[in-house]
């Protein structure tokens, strides 16, 4: 609420309102300013839909990308599939001076299988969704991708783009976390890999610094008894989830071991339900009460935010159900999606 007589000069009101949150997206998650709606809506106060002027580069090597980022710093923005960045640029919330298009960079579009699954950062989501290698090594990726926007989004959107964008309600970051994926990052100092748990640092914030590039996502080779499941609930099919759960574990002799339960929509980043994981490690998975209790322990860990699509209390309540259903789906080998519906 504004006080009467409060005077303000607003040449660019939306920017004044949103400030540094200029990394935001079509996500439904509340932004840190408590706007209660998607950041795009919050930014839309400019009523503009065509990008401001920028320069454009289309390098073909990672080295060139790093060089450009080093030279231009925060004024440069990496463009992969554009499904998150372009709406922000159209609405003039993001106003880079230089757009570095990485779609032509050699190697970033490759999928490699060498025990582990290495997904180049500009591999299209639709490509990995239909990849036999991915289906064999990590079927949860395709199960979750079904809920990432729509076909027309996924056929342009990239795996790396979604993960680097780090929307806390997005599917792929949660799946990466559940799979204990490692992110390959290149920068002026060379290459490094970052575990998913260390990668997502906050709202649209990752361990990739301004002069670095996410080059690949590496999914470790699964153990023989690996199981996984993905469920979410959204207002509509294809929307960012109100809440979602990706689980991955070993299922041996009726026991759930080494479970990773990644939850989206619960905080400023996807988080592991560690209390539930620890609980499962001790318990008998054949007891139907076990998964329900795991769900309760997961929910107890979080204090999710509210927005116009659901209050935080709803997200907290439903995360318990989703954890239970994801675990069941993983064991039954069913499509998590159907499980989410019932």
């Amino acid at each position: 609420m504004v006080a009467e007589g409060d005077r303000t000069v607003c040449g660019r009101p939306a920017l004044a309102v949103v400030g540094q949150a200029a990394l935001l997206s079509l996500g439904h998650l509340p932004d840190p300013l408590g706007a209660g709606c998607s950041a795009l809506t919050r930014s839309a106060l400019l009523f503009l839909v065509k990008p401001s002027r920028f320069n454009y580069a289309r390098p073909t090597s990672v080295e060139e990308v790093i060089g450009l980022l080093a030279a231009h710093g925060d004024d440069a923005k990496v463009l992969a599939g554009g499904q998150s960045l372009m709406p922000l640029m159209n609405a003039r919330l993001a106003r880079p001076e230089l757009v570095v298009d990485i779609n032509a960079v050699a190697g970033l579009g490759d999928i490699e299988v060498n025990g582990a699954l290495r997904i180049g950062s500009v591999v299209r989501q639709r490509t990995i969704e239909r990849s036999a290698d991915a289906a064999r090594i990590a079927p949860i990726i395709a199960a979750g991708l079904r809920y990432v926007g729509h076909v027309g989004i996924r056929s342009r959107g990239t795996v790396g783009g979604s993960i680097a964008h780090a929307d806390p309600a997005a599917e792929l970051p949660a799946i990466a976390l559940a799979l204990d994926a490692r992110m390959a990052v290149s920068g002026p100092g060379g290459q490094r890999t970052v575990a998913a748990e260390d990668f997502f640092e906050g709202l649209f914030a990752t361990a990739v610094s301004a002069d670095e590039l996410l080059t690949a996502v590496e999914v470790p080779r699964p153990p023989a008894a690996a199981r996984s499941g993905f469920v979410e609930i959204a207002r509509r099919h294809g929307d960012f989830a109100l809440a979602g759960v990706a689980v991955s574990f070993e299922y041996v002799d009726g026991a759930v071991r080494s479970a990773r339960i990644a939850c989206s929509g619960v905080a400023d980043r996807p988080l592991l339900a560690t209390a539930a994981q620890d609980f499962l490690q001790q318990e008998d998975a054949n007891d139907p009460r076990t998964f329900a209790e795991a769900g309760r322990r997961a929910a107890a860990q979080f204090d999710p935010p509210s927005d116009i699509h659901a209050p935080g209390s709803y997200r907290k309540q439903v995360i318990a159900v989703l954890v239970e259903r994801a675990l069941k789906a993983a064991i039954e080998g069913s499509d998590g999606a159907d499980e989410a519906r019932r």
Partner: protein
């Protein structure tokens, strides 16, 4: 530095020429980096069948095929389509109506027509990938294309009818120059 082409690595800081294949023909036009592909198709190439409904990637009206894949042309820059093979709704009919176009007429799959171009192109991709989709598969595939008029009933029926008429296998979309010529 002004360049005639966005050659690899060089920084483009002004209008350049974009050359690409559209509906099987070589086309060229001018675009500054910020020009959206949708605006380039509509304004530079005067292919106004591609419609803009939101310009933030939600409604799907601006869907075109880029190298055979359905994309939202409001979320892609014209300079990114350099050398690409683009299909718009204008490329769907090949002398006679595409089976999908025929079926949309027969099943009342359109009312105001604004979503129709994007809907047709998304459906065409579906039928190429899956020549006999179930109604559930059709609904899921088309969920990124909003229609405000029809309630999708006629659209889903039309895609099914087109599939039965061989709309996927026999009437390939002009995603390659050869197919369109």
């Amino acid at each position: 530095m002004k360049r005639d082409d966005n050659h690899d690595g060089a920084i483009v800081d002004g209008e350049i020429e974009v050359r690409l294949q559209v509906n099987g023909a070589s086309r060229r036009g001018r675009a500054e980096p910020r020009m959206l592909l949708a605006d380039f198709l509509r304004q530079e190439l005067v292919l106004t069948g591609t419609h803009l409904g939101c310009e933030h990637g939600v409604c799907g009206a601006c869907t075109v095929l880029v190298d055979g894949a359905p994309v939202r042309s409001c979320l892609m820059l014209a300079v990114q389509a350099q050398g690409a093979d683009v299909t718009t709704v204008e490329g769907l009919a090949n002398g006679e109506l595409h089976p999908l176009q025929q079926a949309f007429n027969e099943k009342h799959g359109l009312q105001c027509g604004f979503c129709t171009p994007g809907m047709l192109l998304s459906a065409a991709v579906l039928l190429e990938e899956n020549p006999a989709p179930s109604s559930e598969e059709i609904r899921e595939h088309l969920s990124g294309n909003i229609c405000r008029c029809t309630g999708y009933v006629g659209i889903v029926e039309a895609v099914q009818a087109a599939a039965q008429a061989g709309g996927g296998a026999e009437a390939s979309v002009a995603t390659t120059p050869a197919a369109a010529s």
